[in-house]
Every structure is written in structure tokens, then in C-alpha cells.
């Protein structure tokens, strides 16, 4: 068994000890995870971002346009001092402005217009059968929207319709919770498989 498997197996068991109660071994493993993760991300960011995309093209290929992102990046460091904090607002403004410019039309199109058009389905399918799912989708959409419409009091028929929306919301939350439980169990099972096969060699 190689040393990396032994370390990984022991650290997994140490992390599991938290399920009993917090202890110094768990704290050590947790700190190690955070430290290693940050160290790894730092190295990847240095090599793949700063070196590959900034320093090498700028200093080796003399791509002078890269001086602009370099300057903006340096201005961001102004946040470390109260005297220069105003300078950091320039790159932040550039980021927010360009980010919003890219994101707003894209999100409006993909999350609103495309989803809205997909919610409106024909009542009859090409084979002539009644499209029950289409009715469920449109009732679910409208009743959920009604629940989040606060300009009118939720009373009478409107209140009942908004209440129907809460049932759709509960179904969504329940499904999402079920899938999340499934996901966490899958992660645990994956780790148990590692312990039983690679670390303890109980299974193949």
C-alpha cells in the first residue's frame, strides 16, 4: 500500500471522529484540508493565471495591452490601506460594470424568456393525446407566482390559488431535500468504498 493511501485513509477516519464529538485530531485534519486546498489553489492561480496569462505574454512577448489588467490588479491591492482604498474602487467598478453587462442580457434570455417559453406547452401532443403535464406546469407556474405576489392580500379565490402555489413549492423543496440527502449519502458511500477497498483491503 502506498503512503498516500495510508495518509488518506487515516485522515478520513480522523474526520469521521467529529461525528462523536469535536477533538484535536479532527481540528488538525480540518486545518490540514484548508491549508492544502489554499496552497494548491494558490499554486494553480500563480502558474495558470498570473504566469500563463499575464507575466509570460507581457514580458516575453511584449503584449503591452496586458499592462491595463496588471494596473487594475495592482489598484485592487489599495484595499489594504485606508489612504488608498478609493483606488480599489476603479477595478471593482470595471468588474461590476462589465460583469453586469455580460450577465444581465444572458440571464434574462436564458432564465426568463427561454424558461417562460418552455412553460407554455400545447394542450394536445402530436399523437393527439391530452398533454396533462402542460396543465400541471402552467398551474404550478401561475400559482407559485401568485404566492410571491404581495401587492394584493392573499384572501378569497386569489388566496386559495396562492395557497396552491405553496404545495408546488413544498414538492420542489421535498424533491431537492431528497436529492441532497442522496448526494451526501453518495459522498459517504464513495469514501467508505475507498476505506474498505483501497485502505483496509476488505473488498476488491
Amino acid at each position: 500500500m502506498d503512503i498516500s493511501t495510508i495518509i488518506a485513509g487515516l485522515l478520513t477516519l480522523i474526520i469521521f471522529t467529529f461525528l462523536y464529538k469535536d477533538n484535536p485530531f479532527y481540528k488538525m485534519a480540518e486545518s490540514l484540508l484548508i491549508g492544502v486546498s489554499i496552497g494548491y489553489v494558490l499554486v494553480i492561480t500563480w502558474t495558470n493565471t498570473l504566469m500563463d496569462m499575464l507575466f509570460e505574454p507581457l514580458f516575453q512577448n511584449a503584449e503591452l495591452t496586458l499592462l491595463i489588467p496588471l494596473l487594475l490588479g495592482l489598484l485592487m491591492l489599495g484595499r489594504f490601506s485606508n489612504k488608498t482604498v478609493a483606488l480599489s474602487r476603479i477595478p471593482i467598478a470595471v468588474m461590476i460594470g462589465s460583469g453586469a453587462g455580460i450577465a444581465i442580457p444572458t440571464m434574462l434570455y436564458n432564465r426568463t424568456i427561454k424558461q417562460l417559453s418552455a412553460s407554455v406547452m400545447p394542450l394536445f401532443l402530436p399523437d393527439g393525446s391530452f398533454n396533462f403535464s402542460g396543465i400541471v406546469v402552467i398551474v404550478g407556474l401561475l400559482s407559485t407566482l401568485a404566492y410571491f405576489y404581495f401587492s394584493r392580500e392573499h384572501k378569497g379565490k386569489f388566496g386559495s390559488f396562492a395557497k396552491l402555489g405553496t404545495f408546488f413549492l413544498m414538492i420542489f423543496f421535498g424533491t431537492t431535500f431528497g436529492y441532497t440527502v442522496m448526494s451526501r449519502m453518495s459522498t459517504f458511500i464513495g469514501r467508505m468504498e475507498f476505506l474498505l477497498s483501497d485502505f483496509l483491503k476488505i473488498t476488491q
Partner: protein
């Protein structure tokens, strides 16, 4: 009201999963329409098609992501696709490279001819949009430091027009960005995601913004069945079913005690 100390609940789960895993029994799973669609789409692509596999996940989700990623890679290599590996999360970079390299070895695939790993690029939205213009300018070098132009399988690859589909292997919302920003270039997006993200991507699947999706360990088990092979997904199905029954049992038990205490007028 606390019925029993929480560590007994965890111990029960630990033992249950440990025993069911040690039994090493594969449970037959019914393949869902989701997985069938994913398998059928990949199967329909002609041999030699070029696909991007994007490892958009962190190390913490690897136990769940790994069986899904392996199933996708095995099917792709079986079909003799040309694979371009990328990562839009720093943590997924090395994981993706190792997974691709190991599975490529199983199928005698050569680096540079059959698959290539381009590695990580920061700011995922910018990276997705930039690859739509030019993959070469986004990745002048691959993960190993080879020049883009020196890699044989990339000689005719300029942007998404030369790519059949993107498979985003994700544990979070990054597939959404592939759908929304990659979708602008009319490229097919396939999601191989953790179970927790299935409900997030369902609307995109219904609206055909995403072509196909498999989710979680269950999705991996179903995909392994379609490929006719045994893997981490199928091995974990008995443990998962047992764990779900255990949780349902705990929920029922908790509710019984809750309603009983309410009847007695006690505080919940």
C-alpha cells in the same frame, strides 16, 4: 426532544453502510429516461467526434463525482472520441487530469492524438466565452506546457464549431454557465452532476437548453449498466438503498415521538 444521542444515529449509518459495502453485492437498477437519453446521445455521435470534458468540481465531491466521471470517460473512449479536458475550478484541475490519464491507459489512448488536457482557466464566464472565439488563444499551452499548435489532435480545432458537445462534470452551478454562455455558440451541453444539483438543472433539460443529464451515484450506476460494466455506482447501490431506508425509518421514528410528546402537552 432528543430520542437518542446523535452519535448513535451516525454509528448506525456507519455500520449499515460498512456492512452493505463489505457484502459487495451489486443491485440491479432500473435505468431512468434521463440516463437513457444521455447514453443514446453519446452513442449517436460518430466515431472521432471531438468533445470537451470540463471538470467543474472540487475535491470534496470526488467520492460522488468519480463514478460519474469514469462512466462518461469510458463511454467516450469506447466510442473513439477525441477528448479535450479542461477545468474551470482550480481544485478540479489535477483530479481531471489524473482521471483522464488513467482511463485513457485502459483503452490504449495516446496523449495528444486521442486526448489532451488543457487545464484550468480563471473566471469561468470569461473562459467559456473566450473558448467560443478561440480555444488556442484561451489555452496557448496545454496543462503539461506543450504549445497548442504542437498537439496533433488540436490542429483542426479552433472553437466550439469544431466540437460536438461539452460534458460538464460538476458539483455546483458551473454547468449553468456552460448552458447560458456556451449555449450562445449553439454547442450541445451535457451535464454529469451530483444528485443535489439535479433539481437545479431539470428546468434546463425540460426547455432543451441542456441536451442530457445524469445525476449522482444512481445515475452512474444506471450508466454503468448501459455500458455493461461494474463500477463504483453499481457497487454503491445496495448501501444507498439501505441508507435511504434507514433515514426514512429515522424520520418516521422522529415523527412518532414528536406527535406523542405533543399529545402529552410537552414541548417538541
Amino acid at each position: 426532544m432528543q430520542i437518542l444521542p446523535r452519535h448513535y444515529v451516525f454509528l448506525g449509518l456507519f455500520l449499515l453502510i460498512g456492512i452493505t459495502m463489505a457484502l459487495d453485492i451489486s443491485v440491479d437498477v432500473k435505468v431512468s429516461p434521463y440516463t437513457k437519453k444521455m447514453h443514446a446521445y453519446i452513442d449517436s455521435l460518430p466515431e472521432g467526434s471531438t468533445l470537451i470534458i470540463s471538470f467543474d468540481h472540487e475535491a470534496s465531491s470526488l467520492p460522488e463525482i468519480r463514478p460519474i466521471a469514469l462512466a462518461m470517460l469510458r463511454h467516450s473512449f469506447q466510442k473513439n472520441f477525441k477528448l479535450i479536458g479542461v477545468s474551470l475550478y482550480p481544485e478540479g484541475t489535477l483530479i481531471g487530469y489524473r482521471l483522464m490519464k488513467n482511463i485513457a491507459k485502459e483503452y490504449d489512448k495516446t496523449y495528444g492524438d486521442d486526448f489532451v488536457y488543457l487545464g484550468f482557466r480563471p473566471q469561468y464566464i470569461a473562459a467559456i466565452l473566450a473558448m467560443g472565439e478561440s480555444i488556442e488563444s484561451t489555452y496557448p499551452q496545454d496543462y503539461l506546457g506543450n504549445d497548442y499548435n504542437s498537439i496533433p489532435m488540436l490542429s483542426n480545432i479552433q472553437n466550439y464549431d469544431d466540437i460536438e458537445a461539452v460534458i460538464s462534470i460538476a458539483d455546483g452551478s458551473l454547468t449553468t454557465h456552460w448552458i447560458e454562455y456556451g449555449g450562445q455558440f449553439n454547442i450541445k451541453i451535457l451535464g454529469a452532476v451530483t444528485a443535489a444539483m439535479v433539481t437545479t438543472y431539470d428546468p434546463y433539460l425540460s426547455s432543451n437548453q441542456m441536451t442530457a443529464m445524469i445525476g449522482g451515484l444512481r445515475g452512474a450506476a444506471e450508466y454503468e449498466k448501459l455500458l455493461g460494466m461494474k463500477g463504483g455506482g453499481s457497487r454503491g447501490m445496495l448501501a444507498q438503498s439501505a441508507a435511504h431506508l434507514y433515514i426514512i425509518f429515522l424520520v418516521i421514528l422522529g415523527n412518532i415521538f414528536y406527535f406523542r410528546s405533543r399529545k402529552k402537552g410537552g414541548k417538541s
